[in-house]
């Protein structure tokens, strides 16, 4: 036992706790397994350890010890690879796949959370050593709240208006409003689709939003989330019954065609509204100099 024991212990504890708090198993059902969770808690523990060891190392003038942090960085990059690989493997067996962008988003979140843990432990140990335990506890609460805030990204309802729209056939073409979805030949299939299908039109709230919701990865994420939460009228070997999103080229609206088993319209709107905006789908054309003059 020395003067660093308690600060580091607190740092590690708070860090690990932060990681557990960020490890939610929600509708995405990931990570589901106990083992999957243990992997992440263990990595969170390691991250917390690395974070809290940095300050004592500097105080003892062991500057080379800080290079350990670079090992940590490459370690957590592997976490990202691991998550990406697992999810990509599994994705082929989903009825409605997540899509690469969604997977990338999840993988990045897993990596990012470990850095947050490291930073939290770093700060907690720092405050403990500079001030006292109360300051350390205060900063743990602050970082905890900040990490909560940072980790919850935007939702689709911030970007678009969601309206239900009847689906109909013109000849063999399936339409939602005036947005063409696909061509379905067999009359029996058409009947099935009219019976089980639902259509929604998402209208972008601003010009900035258009490329974001047009992004194919974002669209697949919408389909995956609805199909996960509301069920999907589909099986392998029924490619005609596929949820799809197509775009109205003129207005930038998108038409969402889904086949939910739970046919509650309000719930479906809520689910679409709660779809996370994928970070790699966000575009901000209005930030460009070319568009600045228009405002």
């Amino acid at each position: 036992m020395n003067e660093y024991t308690y600060p580091m212990l607190l740092g590690v504890l708070v860090g690990t706790f932060t990681r557990i708090a960020m490890l939610r198993t929600d509708y995405r059902q990931y990570p589901t397994y106990l083992h999957g969770k243990i992997i992440h808690i263990a990595l969170g523990f390691i991250a917390a350890g690395l974070g809290s060891v940095a300050i004592p190392a500097i105080m003892e003038k062991q500057f080379t010890a800080v290079t350990f942090l670079t090992i940590a960085a490459s370690q957590f990059r592997d976490v990202r690879n691991m998550e990406r690989n697992t999810l990509t493997e599994i994705d082929g067996y989903e009825l409605v796949s997540r899509g690469k962008s969604y997977i990338e988003g999840i993988a990045v979140a897993f990596e990012g959370r470990n850095y947050i843990v490291m930073f939290t432990s770093f700060l907690v140990t720092l405050f403990y050593l500079i001030y006292n335990i109360w300051a350390a506890i205060a900063i743990s609460i602050v970082t905890f709240l900040i990490s909560k805030k940072l980790m919850s990204g935007g939702k689709l309802k911030d970007l678009v208006h969601i309206e239900q729209e009847e689906i109909h056939f013109e000849g063999a073409g399936l339409y939602i409003g005036n947005i063409y979805i696909m061509n379905i030949g067999i009359p029996d299939r058409q009947k099935e689709i009219l019976e089980y299908g639902m259509g929604f039109i998402l209208t972008p709230k601003s010009f900035n939003v258009r490329p974001t919701i047009a992004n194919l990865g974002q669209r697949q994420a919408i389909l995956h989330d609805i199909s996960t939460i509301m069920g999907v009228y589909r099986d392998s070997g029924t490619p005609a019954l596929v949820p799809l999103i197509k775009r109205d080229l003129r207005s930038g609206k998108i038409g969402v065609f889904v086949l939910p088993q739970d046919r509650n319209v309000e719930k479906a709107k809520f689910v679409i509204g709660s779809v996370p905006i994928l970070e790699n789908a966000i575009r901000l054309p209005n930030e460009s100099k070319a568009n600045k003059g228009d405002e």
Partner: protein, 61 residues
């Protein structure tokens, strides 16, 4: 090269309109055409698309 989309079969009641590449299934009437299309769709995991009242194609997406 991976072929993304491909016409697996053509089902028609009008032989005049089709020729060449994909297997062609000639049917007597619309009812038979629907039946054949449904079966091939199920067997091949493809989608039946209607090009006209008298012609379906089965496409693998």
């Amino acid at each position: 090269m991976k072929i993304e989309k491909m016409i697996l079969a053509v089902i028609t009641t009008n032989k005049q309109k089709v020729d060449g590449g994909a297997p062609i299934f000639l049917c007597e009437d619309k009812q038979e055409m629907d039946q054949v299309a449904t079966d091939i769709e199920a067997i091949m995991d493809g989608i039946s698309h209607a090009l006209s009242e008298e012609m379906y194609i089965i496409v693998k997406h």
